[in-house]
């Protein structure tokens, strides 16, 4: 969960209807379009092999346009014979969305267009109809969960301190296209206002879970949700509710203000594109503790000292960590260096 400069890998899922995509080995920058395509409407099924009187396996040989190509109404798609020719033409403007195993074609109208942008500076290491993977070097911060579409933009601080809540009044259209950093908490009001103002993403120590439900729907979970829909992008760095950011995280965030950055929601990571020596990553990392009621996450300053076996108020007995506020179950304390659990 702490800052690290190194090689990262970001997989970008592609929707159906890819027109062009970056090839393997190509160099890309965060924010570059790495694929674009079309959204299909209701497809029409066209008998092709049957109409031409050929086997389905022979259809590609006689097709005059390839699968995936855009066609206009009346375009000859496939043709056989010379004197007694048989042909299949497009019944509508659209694209050949799919060639069925029985030799029929699915031709779908184009109702929208989409693009997918890279979230890393680097090289494309995998590119197929479903996924484009980019690998490259950056400063990276692993978060607990991320919601919404990927985002890129310059990093901007929207709070004065690591323990502050992101106030809606601090968000306006001057932050359009930026990735803004809140402090301990980014509430739903601030998130929706940021989205309305065109802010790229909101990064905060924690986001109220109830607020996430308001913004992303009732079925939202703690493990994030990557979407392509027009929705806010939210990165929860430490947890839910409230979580003041430790200096080891907030310090570099403040230092990176103005730098190019990206949020990759599928992996819940913030990437910042700055020189390897732009900040000094802390080596002595603090510990985090889950609040006794599990409603928030807090930072334990100083080393975590294991105390004797303790009987807690719930009557559960177990190893504890001594803190100024009393004994905390050792299991509820973890180093900032610990990676969040995989799903």
């Amino acid at each position: 969960m702490s800052w690290r400069y190194g090689e990262w890998r970001a997989a970008h899922a592609l929707p159906i209807g890819v027109l062009t995509r970056a090839g393997e080995g190509s160099e890309v920058r965060a924010g570059d379009i790495i694929a674009h395509g079309t959204t299909y409407g209701t497809p029409q099924r066209v008998a092709a092999a049957r109409r031409l009187g050929i086997a389905a396996a022979d259809l590609p040989r006689v097709m005059r346009v390839s699968s995936g190509a855009e066609v206009e109404r009346g375009t000859i798609i496939a043709r056989t014979g010379r004197r007694f020719a048989r042909a299949v033409s497009a019944p509508i403007d659209g694209r050949i969305a799919h060639v069925r195993a029985d030799g029929d074609l699915e031709i779908a109208p184009v109702v929208d267009r989409w693009t997918v942008r890279s979230t890393l500076d680097g090289r494309v290491t995998r590119s197929d109809e479903g996924t484009i993977v980019v690998e490259g070097a950056a400063w990276g911060l692993q978060a607990v969960a991320a919601y919404g579409p990927d985002a890129t933009g310059d990093l901007a601080l929207a709070v004065d301190g690591a323990g502050d809540e992101l106030q809606p009044t601090r968000v306006d259209v001057r932050l359009r296209g930026r990735i803004i950093v809140g402090g301990a908490r980014g509430a739903a009001e601030a998130i929706t206002r940021a989205h309305a103002c065109g802010v790229g993403a909101v990064v905060a120590g924690a986001v109220p879970a109830g607020g996430l439900r308001v913004v992303f729907g009732e079925d939202v979970s703690a493990r994030g949700r990557s979407t392509r829909a027009d929705a806010p992008t939210v990165l929860c760095l430490l947890g839910f509710g409230a979580a003041p950011l430790p200096a080891a995280i907030f310090g570099p965030l403040a230092a990176f203000a103005g730098a190019r950055a990206a949020v990759h929601t599928a992996s819940a990571r913030l990437f910042v594109f700055a020189a390897p020596d732009a900040v000094r990553a802390e080596t002595a990392l603090p510990s985090l503790a889950l609040a006794p009621d599990w409603g928030s996450v807090r930072v334990l300053e100083g080393p975590a000292v294991l105390s004797a076996e303790t009987r807690f108020a719930s009557e559960i007995t177990g190893p504890a960590v001594a803190t100024p506020d009393g004994a905390v179950p050792a299991a509820n304390v973890r180093s900032l260096a610990a990676t969040p659990i995989a799903d």
Partner: protein, 468 residues
């Protein structure tokens, strides 16, 4: 160098982020019990919902996560289905072919090829050979495996075995759900009577019913009180969890706690409130499993009258035995007179793992907690409890819920039931539950909170702070 183990295997039982070792070896383990790789399963079926029933039952028995279900009806287009499949990112697809929906199934197979050709999920095509043939051509390029008909019991078993194999990482790994199944079978075999294992861990929940003959019916799902706690809330609704809390708590605050717990592996409930939340989640895990079993037409009715219910996992690690009993009774709503037992921490799960390979002693892992008599009295009736201290007669009316502490061997006689029920010594005593079935909770906080608090107080199930 390995330590001699004698005849006892050492088993590592995985929790959320740690292992609990059971056995004599210090240098390693012979078996590991873990949840295995998560398996994202898409179910594709014919035009009627009935074609999906076998697939749902197989998914439940194999602890697979059903991420998408598509029927072969005409309500969605090929492109919409393909997009749904692309977005769902299934690692495995189970297509049930029944022979009557040939063209509909071919359409689904085409959508699968359009949506997932690049990700190449494993495709299991279940059904009779004649039904499978037209579908296979449409799946060209995808890794396809033919499976028997999911509508038959043997077919489902084969599909479950294949799905489990996909979740397993190595030969020494026993899936937690496999271990629960084996433990249920072993307990039924050892006692000669039907038994139910109710297992709730941080990541998974299981219900396994073994008949006296050893036949096992089981359902498992990624629902839990820890890392999967958010799934319980997302799938069932927050209010379904909140209704079991003995103190008023607002929804957003409760959701925060659930989400933080889901991202904090092996967190400990240090306060009575968080313990009450764990208990509420455990109840809903089991209730959701029962609801899913009903939806998949898995016959679980007999489980409600099995003579023995064994609680394992987190369910058996609550600090008070009464908490385990209360959760089990609330969630499973037993219907006769039954013994509720718990395991020593992870001991039965470990014994089940051994029992999946070789005969194992499972009974030494159990401690009987309570004899639960579920009654539906029309008028006040008399219950007589005899133990080493003597006999106690209790008059029980509709809605009563009470605990009669006992010492030594117990005999329970219920007015109107000819034979008495006996039990060995119980850690807790006899619980009389006359709240009725199905167990209904008052919808309004003002009535529900006192009721839930009263039930908890009746069996002394919560520390004082949570009961206030």
């Amino acid at each position: 160098m390995s330590t001699a183990t004698g005849l006892v295997a050492t088993v590592d039982v995985a929790r959320e982020a740690s292992d609990h070792r059971i056995g004599p070896r210090a240098d390693g383990s012979d078996l590991q019990v873990a949840a295995g790789r998560p398996l994202r399963l898409a179910l594709l079926g014919g035009r009627s919902d009935a074609t999906l029933v076998g697939g749902r039952a197989a998914a439940l028995a194999a602890c697979a996560d059903v991420v998408l279900t598509i029927r072969g009806d005409a309500r969605s287009t090929l492109v919409e289905r393909a997009a749904a499949l692309r977005d769902a990112r299934p690692t495995t697809v189970l297509l049930t072919a029944d022979g009557q929906d040939g063209s509909a199934l071919v359409d689904l197979a085409e959508a699968l090829r359009l949506g997932c050709a690049s990700d190449r999920p494993a495709v299991l095509v279940a059904g009779h050979e004649n039904a499978r043939r037209p579908v296979l051509a449409a799946l060209a390029g995808l890794p396809v495996e033919a499976m028997p008909d999911a509508a038959t019991s043997a077919g489902r078993d084969a599909i479950v075995a294949r799905l489990r194999a996909m979740r397993r990482d190595g030969g020494s790994l026993v899936l937690r759900d496999e271990s629960v199944d084996a433990a249920a079978r072993a307990v039924a075999s050892a006692t000669g009577r039907a038994a139910v294992i109710a297992d709730v861990s941080g990541t998974t929940s299981s219900l396994a019913y073994a008949s006296a003959s050893g036949a096992v019916t089981a359902v498992h799902a990624h629902l839990g009180v820890g890392a999967s706690a958010d799934r319980v809330v997302a799938g069932g609704g927050l209010d379904r969890v909140r209704r079991w809390m003995p103190r008023a708590v607002d929804g957003p605050a409760l959701l925060e706690r659930v989400f933080n717990r889901a991202r904090w592996p092996d967190a400990v409930a240090a306060t009575p409130q968080t313990l009450a939340l764990e208990m509420a989640l455990a109840r809903e895990c089991l209730r959701r499993l029962l609801a899913e079993a009903e939806r998949a037409e898995v016959a679980f009715g007999a489980a409600r009258s099995a003579p023995l219910i064994v609680c394992t996992g987190q369910l058996a690690r609550f600090p008070r035995a009464a908490q385990t009993v209360l959760v089990a009774v609330d969630a499973l709503a037993p219907e006769t007179v039954q013994v509720i037992a718990w395991e020593r921490p992870d001991a039965l799960i470990a014994a089940g793992a051994i029992a999946s390979r070789t005969p194992a002693d499972v009974m030494s892992a159990l401690t009987p907690l309570a004899l639960v008599a579920s009654l539906a009295p029309r008028r006040v009736m008399t219950v007589r409890v005899s133990d080493a201290s003597g006999a106690v007669e209790q008059r029980v009316g509709r809605g009563a819920f009470l605990l009669v502490p006992t010492r030594g061997a117990v005999e329970l006689t219920v007015q109107g039931i000819a034979s008495a029920t006996t039990s060995e010594a119980l850690a807790l005593g006899v619980v009389i539950d006359a709240r009725g079935r199905p167990l209904e909770l008052p919808p309004r906080d003002a009535e529900r909170l006192p009721a839930v608090g009263r039930w908890a107080a009746a069996v002394d199930a919560l520390p004082p702070e949570a009961e206030r």
